[in-house]
């Protein structure tokens, strides 16, 4: 497959015209407060037909490169960035005429053209853009790294439209590769043909139904014997929250304590969605489920969710990560780390996985729900590596987005009272505080914490 490149995505509809991006760019590129040095411009006149940031699109076949008579512009085949070479530039400005996006400018103070270079992959403008009209999209590496790998799952399967698990299973299997044994305990995954139905199977790797209760144990025995025989077979569990946090917890905890070499992915859809949306121990406080119904006498689930990632971290395992498929680059990075860690010991990846059917939201919102869960700190993204002893946020959220907005997306929270919402807010804040303390002070950090709830 061809190279894909990370992009600086522009969402003009979100731009409020504040101009912070211009200031940041001028500062980092010219150490100046004069925005004339900025390589990004905010057009603020609807009469111009545009309101929002204008910046180089790093075209696939850039007109500027073709039109430059001095050979001063070239497209970097590695990064995809259109690079400008000051030594060769003769300041003819022909390039600015050839650009259909107004992405390359003449800077009168410098007497040269200037253009965006993505700040080497960490653009300053993105960091200061409050309304998120600018976003750096680093997912190209996923395509470049994974695009040629075989999809190890059947092209058609029986999941609901908008199901997150399908995305997850395809990406995880593709990443870990064919030398894998997949354990899919009872739930939607085997139901949609990961293990098969009446003689047909949907996975190209060997797969099996463990019991809901013994996923980690069966994989442990399998992995140990392959190791004894000198074969490196990846032991992969794709288990739901029931198979991880509830009835599957004993075998999971035992395998983690023993340091069995397993890559255990918990696909947390916050309940027993496959059997008809009953509550599990990871169902959030207040949530409707079919066994925590809402009526005059009951207000939904009475308890907070069990926060499995920290529970697993306390088993002193090789790796713990939280991930969502909506940040697929982060997802793949964590799958890779967990995969590598599973060759040394127990690796646990906890994936927040919305269920369009059980949570009552339209299937096309699956990604948005995940991103909002991250933005509200309902599901903070972090990882812990035993090798370094460090817990680190991978998508830190200092100013959480509106929880009410997140909850309003999901039918299962429709009934929540102000008090219940406040409770959820406090729980999220408390968990983030614990994680922060641990990321700043090491794992003992939580002991020093004074949590105000």
């Amino acid at each position: 497959m061809g190279n894909a490149y990370n992009t600086l995505a522009v969402y003009p509809e979100k731009c409020n015209g504040c101009g912070e991006c211009e200031k940041a760019c001028a500062k980092v590129k010219a150490n100046s407060t004069d925005v004339v040095h900025s390589r990004i411009k905010v057009l603020k006149s609807l009469e111009d037909g545009f309101f929002g940031p204008v910046v180089c699109m790093q075209c696939g076949e850039p007109n500027c490169v073709k039109s430059c008579p001095a050979g001063a512009l070239s497209k970097n085949p590695e990064t995809g960035v259109v690079e400008w070479n000051e030594d060769k530039c003769v300041s003819c400005t022909i390039c600015t005429l050839g650009c259909p996006y107004a992405g390359i400018y003449y800077n009168p103070l410098m007497s040269t053209v200037v253009k965006c270079d993505h700040c080497g992959g960490d653009p300053e403008c993105v960091k200061v853009c409050e309304p998120k009209a600018l976003e750096y999209r680093p997912e190209a590496s996923v395509y470049n790294d994974q695009g040629d790998l075989e999809d190890l799952f059947a092209p058609g399967l029986a999941a609901c439209l908008g199901c997150n698990m399908e995305i997850l299973v395809r990406h995880v299997l593709r990443h870990v590769g064919p030398d894998t044994v997949l354990a899919a305990p009872p739930g939607c995954l085997p139901g949609v043909c990961a293990v098969g139905f009446n003689g047909f199977t949907g996975s190209k790797v060997p797969s099996f139904h463990p019991l809901l209760t013994n996923t980690a144990s069966m994989l442990a025995g399998l992995r140990r014997y392959y190791k004894r025989k000198g074969r490196d077979v990846t032991a992969l569990a794709l288990a739901g929250d029931g198979g991880a946090a509830d009835v599957g917890f004993q075998s999971l905890s035992g395998a983690a304590e023993r340091g069995e070499e397993i890559l255990f992915v918990c696909i947390d859809n916050e309940g027993y969605m496959n059997t008809g949306m009953q509550r599990s121990s990871t169902t959030p406080y207040g949530s409707w489920t079919s066994t925590t119904p809402v009526g005059p006498s009951l207000p939904g689930k009475a308890n907070d969710s069990k926060y499995m990632p920290l529970v697993m971290l306390m088993h002193d395992v090789e790796y713990v990560g939280t991930a969502v498929t909506a940040y697929i680059d982060d997802f793949h990075r964590k799958v890779e780390k967990a995969y590598q860690a599973s060759k040394r010991g127990f690796a646990y990846l906890h994936v927040f996985s919305p269920c369009t059917t059980g949570w009552r939201y339209p299937g096309d919102k699956t990604m948005e729900v995940q991103r909002q869960a991250v933005a509200t700190n309902i599901f903070p993204l972090w990882e812990y590596e035993k090798a370094t002893g460090k817990l680190a946020f991978t998508h830190p959220v200092d100013n959480p987005a509106s929880l009410e907005n997140y909850l309003s997306m999901l039918g299962k929270f429709r009934h929540l009272s102000k008090e219940q919402i406040e409770h959820l807010k406090n729980t999220a804040a408390m968990r983030v505080n614990i994680l922060k303390a641990m990321s700043e002070q090491g794992l003992a950090g939580y002991q020093n914490l004074k949590v105000a709830v």
Binding site: P178, N198, H209, L211, T213, S217, M218, Y225
Partner: protein, 398 residues
């Protein structure tokens, strides 16, 4: 020369697994089985057994890790009993359906409640219908030998089922006896190549889905039924394979154990007692005593309980006019013993109906003595003469 060493029943079972050169051993302690776990752990620690020791967090995982290892091709062993077996029931229930040849000792223990950690066969008898092969041992030599033979039975292509080697808690688990350890090279030749996952594997080199959803549609239902019929066939094949394996073992080692049932002093027997497990010794002694007194009594020892050796029993029961059956467990549904129920199910196949009296005793680690056995003989003698006791006789009330 074969080595003769003193072993208790738990050590004898561990020795069987050691001789079979198992690859994966899973252990979790429970009285009266813990000695098996300790002996195996020591073998591995001392380098005398090259196996993975999986010291897991409960019996449920004990059997689960073995299932995973078996699908990777490992020869596996463990043992449990009582509450441990009850906790293990979920993977246990499924194990024969996987058709994987795991061998597991059941160090028979009575069921709580009332609280009790001592011998009784309530555990093994309660799980007998799940599809495992059950073989009950009389003494420690038989334990070691049967564990080795169990692999040859379980891994036979026509069987492919897990085997429980059952032996009584306390009476065998803690009783020390001389056991002749067969030379390793003889065992190696006897067992030959491992045959664990040739038919169903979790192996990237030959990917397949293990245990897909099956049923619902007529075709799926037919597939499920075909699978069940295959299991039944494997069980019935075991009734042929178990004697073959015992015969071969005898030829190679000189150790002679009746494979399905044993007839003791049966030549001119007019009535008999039916026993199972460690009580067989007291039973045989009692028969000897009764014979001295002129009673024409024989003994039937049930070695293979699942699959039930009905044809062998028809032949044997046809020779007598009455039997007393001694159970070390309680069949609540019949207010009698489990073994009694099995014998009663065989009686209609005989030319002539015979009376079958149910004895229940030896519960919670109590002894069944020669005196008790003599009473069962008297009851059988009376029954043969037409004086039949219809009610269950509880040995502790004798």
């Amino acid at each position: 020369m074969p080595e003769k060493i003193v072993l208790d029943g738990n050590e004898a079972a561990a020795w069987g697994a050691r001789l079979a050169k198992v690859d994966t051993v899973a252990v979790y302690p429970i009285t009266p089985q813990s000695g098996v776990a300790e002996a195996l752990s020591t073998f591995i620690a001392d380098g005398e057994l090259q196996a993975d020791l999986m010291d897991v967090e409960g019996e449920h995982s004990v059997l689960s890790v073995l299932q995973g290892a078996a699908f990777a091709g490992a020869r596996t062993f463990t043992a449990s009993c009582g509450q441990g077996l009850a906790f293990m029931f979920e993977p246990y229930f499924r194990c024969p359906n996987f058709r994987i040849p795991i061998v597991m000792g059941i160090v028979c223990r009575d069921g709580i409640t009332p609280q009790c950690v001592w011998g009784g066969q309530q555990d093994a008898m309660t799980v007998k219908e799940v599809g495992w092969i059950h073989m009950h041992c009389e003494n420690n030599q038989e334990i070691t030998d049967t564990v080795v033979m169990a692999y040859k039975i379980a891994e036979n292509h026509d069987v492919m089922l897990p085997v429980n080697v059952c032996f009584d808690g306390n009476f065998l688990s803690y009783a020390a006896e001389p056991v002749e350890i067969v030379d390793q090279d003889i065992v190696d030749r006897f067992l030959g190549e491992k045959n664990v996952n040739w038919h169903a594997a979790l192996d990237p080199e030959r990917p397949m889905g293990i245990d897909p959803l099956t049923g619902l549609t007529p075709e799926g239902g037919a597939m499920f039924s075909r699978y069940r019929r295959g299991q039944c066939k494997g069980m019935q094949n075991a009734l042929r394979v178990i004697p073959e394996v015992h015969r071969e073992w005898k030829e190679m080692t000189g150790h002679d154990f009746a494979p399905l049932i044993e007839e003791y002093r049966f030549d001119d027997a007019e009535y008999a007692i039916v026993v199972i497990g460690s009580m067989t010794g007291a039973g045989k002694d009692a028969v000897d005593v009764a014979r001295e007194k002129g009673q024409k009594v024989g003994l039937i020892k049930i070695k293979t309980f699942r699959p039930f050796p009905v044809n062998a029993l028809i032949q044997t029961l046809s020779k007598v006019k009455a039997v007393s059956v001694v159970d070390r467990s309680v069949n609540f549904g019949w207010n009698r013993g489990f073994l009694w129920q099995e014998i009663m199910a065989t009686v209609p196949f005989l030319q002539k109906k015979i009376p079958v009296t149910s004895f229940i005793g030896g519960l919670a680690g109590t002894d069944i003595t020669v005196e008790h056995m003599l009473e069962t003989i008297n009851v059988a003698e009376n029954a043969a003469q037409g004086k039949v006791v219809e009610e269950t006789i509880w040995i502790d009330q004798l």
